[in-house]
């Protein structure tokens, strides 16, 4: 579910990549400081993107300076020192991760439950702190995750309906990135479509695995046999869904008042997302060649 919203590095200038990394590092630092060491391990590109959006939409100062990093303690790296914009993103990250781990725990059986059970214990304290700061978001996320679980249990075959709860969660998170009512409306739509993209990409990534395990996946067409998943047709239909989603995403993106870091965000929105999908296609083609 995480790691599908990232930049397309080949088309990024080095200075832009350094800025992107500084925001990523800054978020890692805030997570560590406010939510403990474990929360730093759960950081992903998606939250770095949300952090970047938070900074881009607001005027809060963003100071970058050299700091020591836990990933490479032998040298200092450019890191965003502190910013109000990242505090919200960090809390949203904790709420979402906790709910996702809880969902994993419910989905898995027997010994496979061990890891999510363990992660749930580790992330609970951080979740409680984040939920106290943003109780509305915490309650809404939990409600949508329940809806998601029910749709999957009912084997919902419509991508539109199946992706809705996850999209709603990201819509709600995105709406909190700006204080302006006018921007909130556009952000809600933007967040919905971004959540929809992530859901579809995740479903496509896992389609064979879910099918073999007898698990739910809305991209599986009809009731195929074990040898006849019809991956080319799934890929074609998913490609269409992804294109519709990214097109509508762009329609709302152009209405946002991006005050800074626009080239980096443009890279992620216009190049990063579609290349993540192309990479998934390439990975499946390579796996087919190996077989």
């Amino acid at each position: 579910m995480f790691g599908y919203v990232k930049p397309f590095k080949p088309h990024m200038r080095i200075c832009e990549y350094e800025t992107y990394k500084a925001v990523y590092c800054g978020l890692c630092k805030i997570l560590g400081r406010e939510y403990g060491f474990v929360s730093r391990m759960t950081l992903s590109y998606d939250f770095a993107f949300l952090g970047l959006m938070a900074l881009a939409l607001n005027d809060s100062p963003a100071v970058v300076g050299p700091q020591r990093c836990i990933a490479h303690p032998w040298r200092k790296t450019s890191c965003l020192r502190s910013s109000d914009g990242l505090a919200y993103t960090a809390a949203a990250a904790e709420i979402l991760i906790y709910n996702k781990v809880k969902d994993d725990l419910d989905d898995r059986r027997f010994l496979a439950k061990l890891f999510p059970w363990f992660m749930l214990k580790l992330t609970k304290k951080a979740y409680k702190k984040a939920a106290e700061l943003y109780p509305g978001l915490a309650a809404y996320t939990a409600e949508q995750m329940s809806r998601q679980a029910k749709l999957e249990k009912d084997n919902c075959k419509s991508i539109d309906r199946a992706s809705e709860p996850s999209s709603n969660i990201l819509a709600e998170i995105a709406a909190g990135l700006s204080e302006k009512e006018e921007q909130k409306r556009i952000l809600r739509r933007f967040g919905y479509l971004l959540g929809r993209f992530v859901y579809i990409a995740d479903a496509f990534d896992d389609v064979e695995k879910d099918f073999r395990a007898g698990g739910f996946n809305p991209l599986v067409i009809g009731n195929p046999t074990i040898n006849d998943l019809n991956l080319p047709e799934i890929q074609r239909r998913t490609g269409d869904s992804v294109n519709f989603t990214l097109g509508a995403l762009a329609d709302s993106y152009v209405q946002l008042e991006i005050k800074r870091f626009k080239p980096i965000i443009d890279n992620i929105v216009y190049l990063g997302l579609k290349n993540v999908f192309y990479d998934l296609i390439r990975k499946k083609e390579e796996n087919e060649d190996i077989e």
Partner: protein, 192 residues
């Protein structure tokens, strides 16, 4: 090349759907005014498109067909797509306009696959309706990979702009002008 019918489509100029809510139309208008600040020609084109849409909505120059769907449209324009959906579900006869408005509800909700299916059905039933074609065209372009505002450009819809001619259009125009000139005995561009 930019088709004249495309250039006259105010929805296409603003990058919105025919049944986008009034708020969405205003958001699109404001963002385009910000983006093209200083470019008087484009600003007047955007303003003209916005005024034309608002005129239609206030029952101005063009009449919206009324088949019992005017209340549904009003709800959509006010952004109340759930109410619009309930009304549609209560209407038994599924005309082309029904499918178009159902598609609009789906589009507003973010149910894009169903939106496309409904718009396609509306266009199959009434192939020459400009409103239904505008909606379907908007989605068909995105199906082909088009993303509004793409700074990297997109070969299928021009270089990331919502309207205007691309460099290819200018070059084509000059070559045509040169050919016409040579037919008349002149030579506009000596090297061609």
């Amino acid at each position: 090349m930019c088709r004249k019918s495309d250039m006259n489509d105010p929805y296409r100029i603003l990058g919105v759907m025919p049944t986008s809510s009034d708020e969405e139309i205003r958001d699109a208008y404001r963002s385009l005014m910000r983006r093209y600040e200083g470019d008087d020609e484009k600003l007047s084109e955007i303003t003209e498109a916005f005024d034309s849409i608002m005129n239609i909505r206030r029952g101005g120059s063009v009449q919206i067909p009324d088949g019992g769907f005017s209340e549904v449209r009003r709800q959509l324009q006010n952004g109340n797509y759930n109410d619009a959906d309930s009304m549609l579900e209560g209407i038994g006869e599924k005309t082309a306009e029904w499918y178009f408005l159902k598609g609009s509800v789906c589009y507003a909700k973010g149910w894009l696959n169903e939106a496309y299916a409904n718009f396609s059905q509306a266009c199959r039933m009434e192939p020459y309706n400009p409103e239904y074609n505008s909606a379907l065209r908007h989605m068909s372009e995105t199906k082909g990979g088009y993303m509004q505002g793409d700074p990297n450009g997109n070969p299928y819809r021009g270089s990331g702009r919502t309207f205007g001619c691309s460099v290819c259009d200018i070059c084509n125009g000059l070559i045509c002008a040169d050919c016409c000139c040579e037919c008349m005995g002149g030579d506009c561009i000596p090297c061609c």
